[in-house]
């Protein structure tokens, strides 16, 4: 078996994501804006508006039924006012990595959209004030996989193959090839882009929610949303089998079987809307 790719190398690639040749121009520019200490609403809005395709996608995403504001938001500034800068930044990241995700792993985008919708449904069920934050966390929880699959294609293919033949979760298979897993690397990227701690924790610990010290509830939501999306068989995340749910996280959410059936039902409705967004 090939050597395990060191943490130092992995993190270096993430740090330099703005210069990677595999990363499209839009994402590179977006990355530079996100890294700024105090990026303003106007800066983000004018960046998005300078790119018609991006504007179209983000408004479609915001307005889609998945998102719950049908046909009411017509400008990027309005979206930021309503949803907050962090949510819009997350959505922007989600729509700009769409092609990359498709290239990295077939089905990863469908999985991410499913997880986003499931996280929003659970957040609403639990009465969280900002369910769209959970949506964003679900949307980009696997961002680490994108970087791994694009930058270390051979090694990641190895991990995927091992997950399949060994009937083990992809998270476990990654260990044989990489010093850090996709969740940890996603967390690094989230910090680099100055996402709020709530989002970083949810990404970083979506496979080990009990490590989330500050936002255990939000992290538990993304953890379960990920598992339910896999249980329903939406998209493909590298897992052939559903990973085992964390006891503490599951119990924290206090969901009955009926509640879970309700989540699946709601998720079904969002699948069609999800496909619209991806056009």
């Amino acid at each position: 078996m090939s050597e395990v790719i060191e943490s130092k190398i992995l993190r270096h690639r993430i740090e330099n994501i703005g210069n990677l040749p595999t990363v499209p121009d839009t994402l590179r520019k977006l990355s530079r804006i996100m890294e700024k200490q105090n990026v303003s609403l106007t800066e983000v809005a004018s960046f998005v508006q300078s790119d018609p395709a991006l504007t179209f996608r983000i408004l479609k995403m915001v307005n889609s039924a998945v998102y719950g504001f049908p046909g009411r938001i017509a400008s990027v500034s309005h979206a930021i006012m309503l949803l907050g800068l962090n949510v819009v930044k997350g959505l922007l990241l989600g729509v700009s990595v769409f092609e990359l995700m498709q290239k990295a792993m077939t089905g990863l985008y469908e999985h991410s959209m499913g997880c986003a919708a499931a996280a929003r449904i659970i957040a609403q069920q639990k009465g969280l004030r900002e369910p769209e934050e959970a949506y964003v966390a679900g949307l980009i929880h696997d961002i680490g996989k994108v970087v791994m699959a694009l930058e270390f294609t051979k090694a990641y293919e190895g991990a995927l193959a091992l997950a399949e033949t060994g009937h083990i979760p992809i998270m476990q298979a990654e260990k044989k090839f990489f010093a850090d897993n996709h969740a940890a690397l996603g967390g690094v990227l989230s910090e680099k882009w100055r996402f709020p701690k709530k989002l970083t924790e949810a990404i970083q610990y979506h496979h080990q929610p009990r490590s989330a010290a500050l936002f255990p509830l939000e992290t538990a939501i993304v953890h379960l949303a990920d598992i339910l999306t896999k249980a329903r068989g939406l998209g493909f995340s590298g897992d052939q089998v559903v990973p085992i749910v964390d006891d503490t996280a599951f119990d924290r959410l206090e969901l009955s079987e009926g509640d879970i059936i309700y989540i699946f039902q709601e998720l079904e409705g969002s699948i069609e809307a999800t496909q619209e967004v991806m056009l």
């Binding site: 598992i227 249980a231 089998v241 085992i244 749910v245 699946f264 496909q275």
Partner: protein, 99 residues
Amino acid sequence: MIKITPDKLQPGMRLAKPVMNKVGMALLGEGTELTETWIARIQDMEMEGAIYVEGKLEMEIPMDEMLAALEGRFQSTHGNPRMEMIRSAAEKHIRKLYE
């Protein structure tokens, strides 16, 4: 509405959305019933994105197949009560889709 790739089109399917060319011109309108000729032309075009046809995707997969796939996804979590609850919820949900 189902989203499919041009190679999966079958005669008799009805378009749920217009088929567009690269510059966004509608070539076939919503509601068009696809014939073999139309399908061949669509397949000859360099399409961006997918085709939307009417219907429900899941229903094309027999329920038994869906349930078998579900069983496969949960093969390594037998005996875990929480996973059993999730599996059972998913099964009930899938059965309901076919009612």
